[in-house]
């Protein structure tokens, strides 16, 4: 991978995302989780359509806030076809935007701005660690066939500061986040139903990531992950090194989907328990990406002690994921 | 000439008992008679038969050489219009016509011209002592005056038969005797046949002969 070029967009690939998850704390408030994602998707449309509206690329953005007091996610989404300067993604460095939503990389800083009527996030994320290339030098396999894979790197331990507004109440926040940047043209094998993923900023400065692709029978099709210790040494896990053991399920009253919201995960030397900030962290993005999934703030515990915080993502539980 | 022969009449709703049984009566022009009887004795039925408003079950009604029983309704109606006159207990003047127009009605119904019928009616009303009232409306007249107008209407077209049904029933004694006197005078002076149906003995006494109708049978008194 070459940076900063690979921070930018890769329009030749069919799908790409910049995925930020993290924990925030504000004065006199419980900690809460947040998630901001920008997708770039290329539908199959003829390129010879002269219309400036021709949807060669579509930019989709999601933002969610997990606040225990609300009991469920405060969720926003916005999507637009690239064009007219209203939505797009730059190559060369990170700049992806849809209307007034924007994620921009400027030096060692990311600036993220999300603004809607009933919620706004205005955050600065400082890069303190180098990119963590996932898989083999950033090439992450997603299945046994070898045809499904993505280009994938992570930026753990981003230092967050800024302001969030819910309805009319604004508060200053600070916290820690994790950014995934991934692009691919064939992400899922035909047999894949969805995946379970988590990324944890370990309290000691290390970073732990693991995922498993599930087949349509609920079994594990493929798995992967990595651990970068506080000293910067990276170990990549083989599929056999990883096991996800569901501990507790939660069923969404809204969609009826049943999610394993708490796991016991075996990943290399780790044996961690993932416990959600709250059970209802379901995202209904059927209007934009077409998917319903669970994406929530979790604590990682090991032998009773909290060893880090991060996010857990559970997809394909309502119906098999399609991209 | 009025001749009733073996008149028989029963109503379906009165059971088997006939209302009129074998009625016979011969009257000549100038005859002025009364028929008396209790309420429901059949007086009205007899009157209707004579007037041709109803038909008997059997028997004949001969009036001026025609048998009413053999005539159709139109012919009987024409005969009634031309040759009969009626006086009712309730006067039955048309409230929206003047006294003169009411009296002239029978003439006009017989096709007499407007002017002539007005003149003849006016003359008759004069004779009845009503010349002061000719342009008034019936609503403003007393009972006696009203009945005198009704008599004028009944006689204006010179009928051969005058039928009076309780003509004094709604009148006080003074008016009643005046009306009875006038009626008698007019019928007699024209040589008509007069039949007075009443249950008042005073009224009956003003006629030449009295017949009583009882149990459907007509007997001279």
């Amino acid at each position: 991978m070459h940076f900063p070029r690979d921070h930018g967009s890769h329009p030749e690939f069919r799908i790409e995302w910049w995925y930020i998850t993290g924990w925030l704390h504000a004065k006199d408030q419980d900690d809460c989780g947040f998630q901001v994602t920008f997708f770039r998707v290329r539908p199959r449309v003829p390129a010879d359509n002269p219309s400036r509206f021709n949807p060669e690329h579509i930019i989709i953005a999601h933002a969610a806030l997990a606040d225990r007091q609300l009991g469920k996610l405060r969720h926003l989404q916005r999507a637009a076809r690239q064009g007219f300067g209203l939505a797009g993604s730059d190559t060369g460095n990170t700049r992806v935007w849809v209307d007034r939503w924007q994620l921009l990389r400027d030096g060692q800083q990311y600036r993220c701005r999300i603004s809607e009527r009933d919620m706004a996030l205005n955050l600065v994320l400082d890069t303190l660690q180098p990119p963590l290339l996932q898989g083999v030098a950033g090439y992450s396999r997603k299945g046994p066939q070898g045809g499904s894979a993505s280009h994938y790197y992570s930026l753990p331990h981003l230092r967050v500061s800024g302001e969030i507004r819910i309805d009319r109440t604004a508060r200053t926040v600070a916290g820690e986040a994790w950014l995934d940047h991934e692009w691919s043209s064939s992400l899922l094998e035909t047999d894949a139903e969805g995946w379970d993923w988590f990324g944890i900023n370990l309290a000691d400065g290390g970073a732990l990531m693991a995922f498993r692709m599930r087949n349509r029978r609920g079994g594990t099709l493929w798995a992967g992950g990595s651990w970068r210790d506080a000293g910067g040494a990276v170990s990549n896990f083989k599929p056999d090194d990883i096991r996800f053991i569901p501990l507790r399920h939660w069923q969404s009253p809204l969609t009826g989907a049943k999610y394993p919201v708490s796991f016991e995960v075996l990943a290399g030397p780790f044996r961690v328990r993932l416990e959600p900030l709250m059970d209802d962290q379901e995202n209904d993005t059927r209007a934009t990406t077409g998917a319903v999934y669970w994406e929530g703030a979790v604590r990682a515990r090991s032998s009773g002690h909290e060893i880090g915080r991060g996010y857990l993502e559970l997809t394909g539980y309502l119906r098999p994921l399609q991209i | 000439m009025l001749s009733l022969r073996h008149l028989h009449k029963a109503y379906r709703d009165s059971g088997e008992r006939p209302v009129l049984r074998d009625i016979g009566l011969e009257l000549r022009p100038g005859d002025y008679v009364a028929i008396v009887g209790e309420s429901g004795s059949g007086k009205s039925t007899l009157l209707n038969l004579i007037a041709g408003l109803e038909l008997p079950d059997s028997g004949n009604i001969l009036f001026e050489e025609q048998d009413l029983v053999l005539l159709d309704d139109n012919a009987r109606t024409r005969l009634r219009r031309q040759r009969m006159g009626f006086v009712f207990q309730a006067f039955l003047l048309l409230p929206h016509l003047t006294v003169l127009d009411n009296a002239a009605l029978s003439l006009k119904l017989n096709g007499v011209g407007h002017r002539e019928s007005q003149q003849r009616a006016a003359a008759l009303l004069d004779a009845m002592g009503l010349s002061a009232h000719v342009h008034r409306f019936p609503g403003t007249l007393s009972g006696g005056e009203s009945q005198r107008v009704a008599i004028a209407r009944a006689l204006a077209h010179q009928p051969g038969l005058v039928l009076a049904d309780e003509p004094t029933g709604n009148l006080d004694a003074g008016s009643a005797s005046q009306v009875l006197r006038l009626l008698r005078e007019q019928v007699k002076s024209r040589g008509s046949i007069g039949i007075l149906v009443t249950h008042s003995s005073a009224a009956a006494a003003s006629t030449d002969r009295v017949f009583r109708l009882a149990d459907g049978i007509l007997r001279p008194e």
Partner: protein
């Protein structure tokens, strides 16, 4: 006490003659049923329209709308980027012509990603794969559209862009009821590309940010809008679509009003008669010691009950009638305005209650005056036998004259635009005034005339003159119904005659050619025009370009017609109203505006007017005002050459052609078709066909009014029947006496028929008089205000005379039929009855 009075006045008569009470109820029911059913249909159509419009505009707070040919899409990013705009959703909206002569389809091209924010129900909650949504070969149809064309998902559908063919695949059919109009939905990019509309938008829907100051935002939006593009609220947009049919629906409302009015009058007459009939009973009860208040109360309660039950029957009947009409002719009562609108009846309890209350109120009002009169009558007078009192009462005459005066005043101060409320109020007042004042006046005149009739009619006449109040009831019911019928006949006849003349003037050529039936996407190119111009079979050709033009604020766009002026110029070719303005040699180019445009913009010949045709708005001069029955939203005519000079647009939609001698229509049509790229797409009609079609549409629009007129006449005759039926009982002794005096049954019937005929003739004569005045109000005030078109008054004398004779005859029959019960038998006994 109350129970005894109720028993004597209401219970007893009800048991003895339930028919009379039933009739009074039916009178109310028929009025309410007619009014309610027309209202229901109207309201249902209206709701459908609003719902359809709302579904399309969704949750947008404002919208930007351009003319039919659209505006430059560059406006979209400018608007979207404005501070304070939360969502801007670009929309393409056009009528796509079908190739096979089928009706055109309204297609909206949307950016689904934008539209979902503002019109969440656009796809009726369906989630479609993104691939289907963006596929440029796809179209999504509403259920009504799929039914109209008889296609299902997966089928192909052909459209026409210019003269080229566009084939689309039906990707999905939305569930029934989600869109009630025939509608196609496409991706905006696909629609721009496939229909040759690249670079064009028709609409931008907008939602503001929470904290945006709408006033300031509106100002900054306004600064960006080119001329001819407007910023509207969704309400204004809804009104805009409703405005199309507003005038027609106003007329429907008027019909409902007329039906109600006729019904109300019938209630009044039946109740009056019912009261008069019971004067003896009331007098008896009063003599026995019943207080006046109790009697009055009982009578009023009875009236209200009759009204309530009658209204309930009427509402039920109205519902059934509306359902039948909806199934048979549709919500527009067959006029063809809301074609394909899939409507269900919208029954609102509030409206139902309103009509219920209306029926009860009418009955109460009808009862009030006569009830007060008989309850307050001295018992001694009431006990006397004979006809009810016929005291001369000046009240109706005075009230009537006041009402007529008020009507005249209303008309005098009536504004010339807006809804013709003044006109309707004047009609109602005039009708009420005529009903109250005309019969007494007519009877007085008749009395003065000292008419002399032969027996038995002399008797009838004298009775009529002596009992003006009873007579007036029968007369008035004829008056009301006849004047309504006369006014409608007058209006329709004037309209039809004017339309016929107009058609003759606007269709001078032999054949008329249209690029395709309906739709915005069909036209003939310059090359095709040249080929057509070279056809030797055509002696003369006039080309016509029509497009829409936003000109009148808050109203739908007007039609701009650019055409060849013809030999004598527009002053000769157009059906002008008034004199044209003298046009200076080097003045601005002239335009010729329709009456609507002249009314709304208050323009007169010679006035300047600015039109945004080309890049720069230009000042034109109004050459003259012409009458246009074809375009309800207004039209502006200008010289085609001038139009081309201003816009550079060389396309045309229509052409008119005069055939060379000896050339048949078929030959010429064939040549014209051969001269175009796709001749089968042309619609070619002869003048005769167009005229016939126009008149057919006209007749269909007014077909329903015949039914209403018939209903009005029926109700009027029912009034006569009731009046005579009510009198018959009181007159049995009169008939009996006349039988004794030698009148035949037939003569008595003839006398009654004569009375009825005379009353009807007077009523109809009065009705003719007031009807002509109302007709004038309809022609000169109401139509002018609702449709903004003038018409020449034409009185259909022959039909009116026939109708007059017919109604007099029918009234005679109704009168003798009404009295038949009393004359049929036992008249001879009546002479001995004592009351």
């Amino acid at each position: 006490m109350i129970r005894a009075v109720w028993q004597a006045l209401v219970g007893g008569p009800l048991r003895a003659a339930p028919g009379r009470t039933l009739l009074a109820m039916l009178a109310i029911a028929s009025g309410i049923a007619l009014g309610y059913s027309v209202h229901l249909l109207n309201a249902s159509a209206d709701t459908e329209f609003r719902r359809a419009a709302l579904q399309l505009s969704g949750e947008a707070e404002m919208l930007i709308r351009g003319p039919r040919q659209g505006f430059d899409e560059a406006l979209y990013p400018q608007i979207a980027r404005l501070d304070g705009i939360a969502i801007a959703s670009p929309v393409l909206e056009f009528q796509a012509s079908r190739s096979s002569g089928e009706p055109s389809l309204k297609i909206i091209g949307v950016d689904a990603l934008r539209a979902r924010e503002l019109q969440p129900m656009l796809l009726a909650g369906q989630t479609l794969p993104a691939a289907d949504l963006f596929d440029p070969d796809n179209i999504i149809l509403s259920a009504v559209a799929a039914r109209t064309y008889g296609v299902a998902a997966g089928d192909r559908l052909d459209f026409r862009a210019g003269t080229a063919l566009v084939t689309l695949r039906v990707a999905a059919v939305l569930p029934d009821g989600s869109h009630r109009l025939p509608l196609g939905i496409m991706d905006i990019a696909a629609a721009q590309w496939r229909f040759g509309l690249t670079g064009v938008l028709h609409r931008i829907d907008i939602r503001f940010d929470r904290d945006a100051g709408p006033a300031a935002l509106r100002k900054s939006i306004g600064a960006l809008l080119p001329e001819g593009v407007q910023l509207l609220t969704p309400e204004a947009e809804n009104l805009r679509s409703a405005a199309l049919t507003r005038a027609y629906r106003t007329n429907l409302d008027m019909l409902a009003l007329i039906a109600l009015f006729t019904g109300a009058f019938l209630v009044y007459s039946t109740q009056t008669l019912a009261m008069l009939r019971r004067r003896n009973q009331v007098a008896l009860l009063r003599a026995l010691g019943a207080p006046q208040g109790t009697v009055l109360g009982v009578l009023l309660v009875e009236g209200a009950l009759i009204g309530a039950v009658g209204a309930a029957i009427g509402i039920t009947g109205g519902l059934v009638l509306a359902q039948q009409l909806l199934a048979a002719v549709g919500t527009d009562l067959g006029a063809g305005y809301f074609r394909n609108l899939q409507a269900a009846l919208h029954i609102e309890p509030a409206t139902m209650l309103f009509f219920m209350a209306l029926g009860t109120l009418f009955a109460l009002m009808g009862t009030l005056a006569p009830a007060i009169e008989i309850a307050g009558m001295p018992p001694a007078r009431g006990l006397r036998a004979g006809d009810p009192d016929e005291q001369v009462n000046a009240f109706p005459l005075l009230a009537g004259i006041t009402a007529i005066g008020a009507a005249a005043l209303l008309l005098w101060i009536a504004p010339s635009t807006g809804l013709p409320i003044h006109g309707y109020a004047a009609i109602a007042l005039l009708l009420a005034g005529a009903t109250l004042a005309f019969p007494p006046v007519a009877i007085r005149l008749l009395k003065l005339a000292r008419l002399r009739l032969p027996l038995p009619h002399a008797l009838g006449l004298s009775r009529l003159l002596a009992t003006p109040r009873l007579a007036a009831i029968g007369m008035s019911s004829i008056l009301v119904s006849f004047s309504l019928v006369v006014s409608m006949l007058l209006m329709i006849h004037s309209f039809r005659t004017s339309l016929d003349t107009w058609l003759e003037q606007v269709l001078p050529a032999d054949i008329y050619v249209r690029a395709a039936a309906g739709g915005d996407t069909a036209y003939l190119s310059a090359a095709e025009q040249q080929r057509i111009a070279r056809i030797p079979d055509l002696a003369r050709i006039e080309f016509l370009r029509s497009r829409s033009l936003l000109l009148l604020p808050g109203r739908p766009p007007v039609t701009l017609i650019a055409r060849d002026p013809g030999i004598g110029g527009f002053a000769a070719a157009l059906p002008l109203v008034g004199t044209p303005a003298p046009l200076p040699e080097n003045g601005p180019p002239a335009v010729w505006i329709s009456e609507l445009v002249a009314d709304v913009l208050a323009l007169r010949p010679g006035d300047p007017v600015r039109l945004a045709l080309g890049a720069q708005p230009q000042t034109h001069i109004v050459g003259g005002i012409w009458r246009d029955y074809a375009r309800q939203n207004g039209a502006v005519v200008m010289d085609l050459a001038e139009y081309r000079r201003l816009t550079g647009d060389r396309q045309i939609n229509d052409l008119a052609a005069w055939l060379a001698p000896g050339v048949s229509v078929n030959e010429a049509s064939g040549r014209i078709r051969a001269a175009t790229d796709d001749g089968s797409a042309l619609e070619i009609s002869t003048t005769a066909e167009l005229r016939k079609l126009s008149l057919e549409i006209f007749d269909r629009s007014f077909a329903i009014t015949w039914a209403l007129q018939a209903a009005a006449l029926g109700i009027g005759l029912l009034g006569v029947w009731l009046a005579f039926n009510a009198q018959a009982l009181a007159r049995r002794r009169e008939f009996g006496m006349l039988r004794h005096l030698g009148m035949t049954r037939r003569e008595i019937s003839a006398m009654l028929a004569g009375e009825g005929a005379l009353g009807a003739a007077i009523g109809a004569a009065c009705g003719l008089f007031s009807g002509v005045i109302i007709g004038l109000i309809l022609v000169r005030v109401i139509n002018r205000q609702s449709f903004h078109w003038s018409m020449d008054l034409a009185i259909p004398w022959l039909p009116l005379a026939a109708l007059f004779a017919g109604i007099v005859f029918c009234a005679a029959m109704a009168a003798s039929a009404g009295a038949a019960l009393a004359t049929r038998q036992e008249m001879t006994r009546a002479v001995r009855e004592d009351w």
